[in-house]
């Protein structure tokens, strides 16, 4: 174990290591090459690999992702950046009608190995067009994988896994996690896609968290410990395909489930998990499945309103106590 590495450099190192390992990997997007990324995540890539492999494009999100789909179908492994996840709405066509369908639709004549990185900026007062976490739009697309790293270690491991995966992968990275630090394991490692992590074992209730809500969940677990409450904390890591077996096993032990995600509750990924658990593990539940998530409105730039909107440790603690009360 070396010195601690920041989340954003963990992503950077993952991309660089994969580009050294595999000459078909390249990065593409707005300001990713020469400027090193608007938040510095791709710093140094152009210097090491040259402009053919670190490509700056015009502002054309749909075509950036469309280019990736065509290039991937033609043998390359693109890693694109969408600066703020709100802008991924411009890429829904290319992700849904094209990338997610091409392999199946063409009878397996192609594979589409591509990674699209999208950054969420909730909590910065960035307002309605820059703050959204839109994973639920994509979680239901067969043929597309969606991963949401939560620590520097899994940020690196999931990026490597995503680049090596032969399918399109949407990689959602939270701006507020960029400065988290952790020591990396030695050598080459991946975090497998499609597997949850049991972060803390427990017995009283299962908390399922995703993305940057891990930080809030860890705070909540500490606070609940003071009241003698021991939750089992599961980090999804992959939103699609969901690792439901780990969740069922936990619910069979704890008999209560609460899901926390930054995105709004209505039609969020928590809804899918809740539906599956009540369908497949009903007899093990002592309480309805609950969700801690954003309300059915828009995110404000105004700090007081934004803070109310975003889920946090306090809201999770309150929900758990209600469920155990």
């Amino acid at each position: 174990m070396g010195k601690p590495i920041m989340f954003q450099w963990a992503i950077n190192h993952a991309i660089a290591e994969e580009m050294r390992r595999d000459p078909t990997v390249f990065i593409i997007g707005e300001d990713v090459g020469k400027p090193g990324g608007p938040f510095g995540v791709t710093r140094g890539i152009l210097d090491e690999f040259g402009p053919e492999r670190a490509v700056d494009t015009p502002i054309s999100e749909g075509t950036i992702v469309g280019l990736c789909a065509g290039a991937a179908a033609s043998g390359l492994r693109p890693v694109a950046e969408i600066m703020f996840m709100n802008f991924i709405t411009l890429c829904v066509e290319e992700l849904y009608n094209q990338a997610s369908k091409m392999r199946w639709m063409f009878g397996a004549q192609v594979k589409v190995p591509m990674v699209v990185r999208a950054m969420t900026a909730g909590g910065y007062g960035a307002g309605p067009h820059h703050s959204s976490s839109l994973e639920s739009l994509f979680a239901g697309m067969p043929g597309l994988k969606v991963v949401m790293p939560s620590t520097p270690v899994n940020a690196k491991g999931l990026m490597k896994a995503a680049i090596r995966d032969d399918n399109p992968v949407l990689y959602v990275e939270p701006l507020s996690s960029y400065k988290l630090k952790a020591e990396m394991p030695e050598g080459d490692f991946i975090t497998p896609i499609g597997k949850c992590e049991v972060v803390k074992e427990g017995s009283d209730i299962t908390i399922v968290t995703v993305g940057r809500m891990l930080q809030e969940s860890l705070k909540a677990v500490d606070q609940l410990a003071k009241d003698g409450i021991k939750p089992e904390l599961i980090d999804l890591l992959t939103v699609s395909p969901l690792d439901m077996d780990t969740i069922y096993t936990s619910v069979k032990k704890t008999h209560r489930l609460v899901i926390i995600h930054e995105a709004k509750e209505t039609m969020g990924i928590g809804a899918e998990i809740a539906a599956l658990v009540q369908e497949k593990a009903f007899d093990w539940l002592d309480a309805p499945v609950a969700r801690v998530a954003a309300p059915f409105t828009h995110i404000a730039f105004q700090p007081k309103l934004e803070q109310h909107y975003l889920p946090d440790a306090g809201k999770l603690v309150a929900k758990v106590k209600t469920m155990l009360g």
């Binding site: 065509g70 043998g75 009608n97 639709m105 190995p113």
Partner: protein, 320 residues
């Protein structure tokens, strides 16, 4: 440009093959029992398909539209899996899953047809990117019409191909209609290739029903792209003999317009020209027509013999 006798016969053969396939598919579809879904046929646009694809190597790529049979056939795809795909059978090129609007035949460079107007252009930019990245002199041709020329996809793709200097030939067939509305609803200028200069690339407009003109103009575009000079826009004026889809009553076409364009049928005109020039005699023409008919008949028989896909096929190949 001097076109050799062999090339002329090749151009004619490609067009006859396209026309025969489209005409026979039309008949089978209209009989109502064997081909599910929708059909968008390309009779009348045969010269654009043949003249473009005759310039391309097998390992060059094309991206085609919902009206893409002609281009895929002209590129050299085997007719049997194409026909089986139209019948929705397991031996179809897409295992019977995709149908007419979503054909692909990757081994002959046919990277995919698209059911979403204009979307092939973004994908074409990606394949061209890969061709340049791998330091080949391969090129990608993407077909589209005046309707697609209004999409964000066209503008973004052409701009990105120009800024990144990618080997994409944008092949626009102006057939006067986008679905049911006239060209004038879709573009404010007469010759849309004029736009190319605004993006920093060459553009040219020509008679899309003269297969030799198409061939010569696309040859220039291919040469430009193989030399790494960036994209090129070619625009051929042409016409589709049938409606947007088979079954379309075409109420939006003024009386007499179809008849005028039928006088400029590219296949009929070229046959006359080759006979007049002595490139082919009547017997030679008939031999080509008979051989194309034989290939189409063989494809239909292949399709009819192929089984329907099993239900399990729905769940295969979702992920690699």
């Amino acid at each position: 440009m001097k076109i050799s006798k062999d090339t002329k016969i090749d151009l004619f053969t490609r067009m006859v093959k396209v026309r025969t396939f489209e005409d026979d598919t039309n008949k089978i579809f209209m009989a109502g029992k064997e081909m599910p879904g929708f059909l968008h046929l390309s009779q009348g646009e045969d010269a654009m398909a043949a003249g473009t694809c005759a310039n391309l190597r097998m390992d060059d790529a094309i991206y085609t539209t919902h009206r893409g049979h002609g281009c895929i056939i002209a590129k050299g795809a085997d007719l049997k899996p194409m026909m089986a795909e139209l019948f929705g059978r397991i031996d179809g090129c897409c295992k019977g899953r995709a149908g007419s609007m979503h054909f692909a035949d990757v081994k002959t460079g046919c990277m995919g047809s698209n059911g979403v107007v204009g979307e092939g252009m973004r994908l074409a930019v990606g394949t061209a990117f890969a061709q340049k990245y791998n330091k080949t002199d391969n090129v990608t041709a993407v077909f589209f019409g005046e309707g697609a020329s209004g999409t964000g996809s066209f503008h973004e793709s052409f701009n990105m191909a120009a800024t990144l200097k990618l080997p994409v030939i944008f092949v626009c067939s102006i057939n006067l209609y986008a679905q049911m509305t006239h060209k004038s609803v879709h573009i404010a200028i007469d010759d849309m290739a004029e736009r190319a200069a605004g993006y920093g690339a060459p553009g040219v407009t020509f008679d899309g029903n003269d297969v030799e003109v198409v061939y010569e103009e696309v040859a220039k575009a291919v040469k430009h792209c193989r030399a790494g000079k960036g994209p090129y826009l070619v625009e051929g004026k042409t016409y589709r003999h049938y409606g947007h889809y088979i079954g379309d009553p075409c109420n939006y076409r003024p009386a007499g317009e179809l008849e005028e364009w039928m006088k400029k049928d590219p296949v009929v005109l070229y046959e006359k020209k080759l006979l007049k020039e002595g490139v082919l005699d009547a017997k030679g023409v008939q031999q080509i027509k008979d051989e194309c008919k034989r290939l189409v008949d063989e494809a239909v028989e292949y399709a009819r013999k192929s089984p329907q896909p099993e239900i399990e096929e729905l769940y295969k190949d979702i992920f690699a």
